[in-house]
């Protein structure tokens, strides 16, 4: 017993040091997992409010660019609306609409990024929507140019989003001109370029082809743009890597939309039913 006390007394600093390092490593490992990263993140109300204040100053200098982007988006939406109203005008389509009793599946919530991050290997965004806006985990986050990430932690007023520039995020994506789909990942090198894996070999690819979201999950609706093919690295059969240049400039983001899926619960229940 005496020896033990003597040992602790002799190495008390080292033991304390080990204790602190253990806590730090626990935090690092928690941060790498999807559902465990609850404790240390920038979505807490202290850090969230802090970033909000500093952002309000920064915003003022970027009003011009923001306005242009919003005008552009308005233009695209107006054109789409015009095309759609023409389609609805024809009788045949109206009938189909009535038959299926089409109801809205997705709705969008407008928000802003309080903190953007793109330098690390595991990047996260903080947005100013939280439980009070009925945000839940695993909702998609997009903006006018493409997808940004998936909501991970939700607090009362802020939530943390796992960016697509995160080594552990995997997003279903497909080619626009065919229905071959694969997994969108990031290797941590260039924040403008992500990687598309698992595209079958028979798919014909060309540099410049557009990649969109696949709609295989209830996170993103189908057809949201992601980027265009930059280079194709041919490896051994399954190892084919397609580098994709994102439409978004991930280093300057401001206005975002969170995708809310009304059918999510139904889809999840359907997947849960057991095979017999």
């Amino acid at each position: 017993m005496q020896q033990l006390i003597y040992f602790i007394q002799k190495y008390r600093y080292f033991l304390f040091f080990l204790f602190l390092e253990l806590i730090a490593f626990q935090l690092i490992i928690n941060n790498l997992n999807f559902h465990n990263s609850k404790f240390i993140n920038s979505a807490s109300s202290i850090t969230g409010d802090f970033y909000k204040k500093t952002n309000s100053i920064r915003d003022y200098f970027q009003l011009d660019i923001e306005n242009k982007e919003l005008l552009n988006e308005n233009l695209i939406l107006k054109n789409k609306l015009e095309r759609l109203s023409q389609k609805i005008d024809t009788v045949a389509v109206t009938k189909i609409f009535e038959k299926t009793n089409a109801s809205q599946r997705y709705s969008y919530l407008q928000g802003r990024i309080e903190k953007n991050q793109f330098r690390n290997n595991y990047n996260f965004l903080t947005i100013n929507l939280g439980k009070k806006d009925s945000i839940t985990p695993e909702m998609g986050v997009i903006n006018s140019k493409g997808i940004l990430g998936i909501v991970e932690n939700v607090l009362h007023r802020y939530s943390r989003v796992r960016s697509i520039l995160n080594k552990s995020s995997k997003i279903n994506a497909k080619l626009k001109n065919s229905n071959y789909f694969g997994t969108l990942t990031w290797d941590g090198f260039d924040y403008n370029i992500t990687q598309l894996l698992d595209i079958p070999r028979q798919a014909k690819l060309k540099v410049g082809d557009t990649i969109i979201t696949g709609g295989m999950s209830s996170i993103f609706p189908e057809g949201i743009p992601i980027g265009s093919i930059d280079t194709i690295v041919n490896g051994v059969s399954i190892k084919r890597v397609i580098n994709i240049k994102l439409f978004n400039d991930m280093s300057s983001l401001k206005n975002i939309y969170v995708v809310k899926d009304f059918d999510k619960q139904q889809l999840m229940n359907l997947e849960k039913t057991e095979n017999e």
């Binding site: 600093y13 080292f14 304390f16 040091f17 602190l20 390092e21 806590i23 730090a24 490593f25 626990q26 935090l27 690092i28 490992i29 928690n30 941060n31 790498l32 990263s37 240390i40 993140n41 920038s42 807490s44 850090t47 802090f50 970033y51 500093t54 903190k115 991050q117 793109f118 330098r119 690390n120 290997n121 595991y122 990047n123 996260f124 903080t126 943390r160 941590g188 090198f189 260039d190 924040y191 280093s251």
Partner: protein
């Protein structure tokens, strides 16, 4: 008085790191981590519990704001623990000298060695933990090199300017 000034400087550097230096991203990955000067500014004491705890919470605040889990905490606590060994190695000081120890009054060559060693060790651990695999070790080494140069230039410039303002 002196302690208050050190505390103020540490707080200023913390905010500088969070608001400005974390967003530099020079050629994408290169960032100065000036908060390492916490290790150099904090006064030497015989009881190291306070220093280690302070380093832990200092790193935790940084992690809180930059969403990095615990990598700043782990690397800062690591260099905080080994600071005394480097002081013994480079300056040849004993327990008695700790109270009066001041980096400004030491020879520049020794200070340079001490600061460079601690900075490089800290940056190497930081980037290895950020990478968290053995795959991209060359990138880790390159980042360590460039970011260390960036940090060191900033630190020495800052300490040179501030020394001029308070003549001894």
């Amino acid at each position: 008085m002196n302690k208050i000034r050190i505390f103020l400087w540490i707080t200023i550097i913390l905010f500088l790191q969070i608001l400005v230096l974390n967003n530099i991203n020079f050629s994408q990955h290169i960032n100065p981590y000036l908060y390492i000067s916490f290790i150099f500014l904090f006064p030497l004491t015989k009881n190291r519990f306070i220093f280690l705890t302070a380093a832990f919470f200092y790193g935790l605040i940084l992690d809180f704001f930059s969403d990095t889990g615990g990598i700043h905490t782990a690397s800062l606590v690591f260099v905080a623990f080994f600071r005394l060994y480097f002081i013994k190695l480079f300056f040849r000081k004993n327990n008695i000298d700790y109270l009066l120890f001041d980096l400004h009054s030491e020879a520049f060559g020794q200070v340079f060695n001490y600061v460079v060693t601690i900075t490089i060790i800290h940056h190497f651990i930081l980037f290895s933990l950020d990478n968290f695999s053995f795959n991209n070790i060359n990138i880790v080494l390159l980042n360590t090199l460039y970011s260390s140069i960036f940090t060191l230039v900033l630190y020495f410039l800052g300490s040179y300017i501030l020394r001029k303002k308070q003549p001894r």
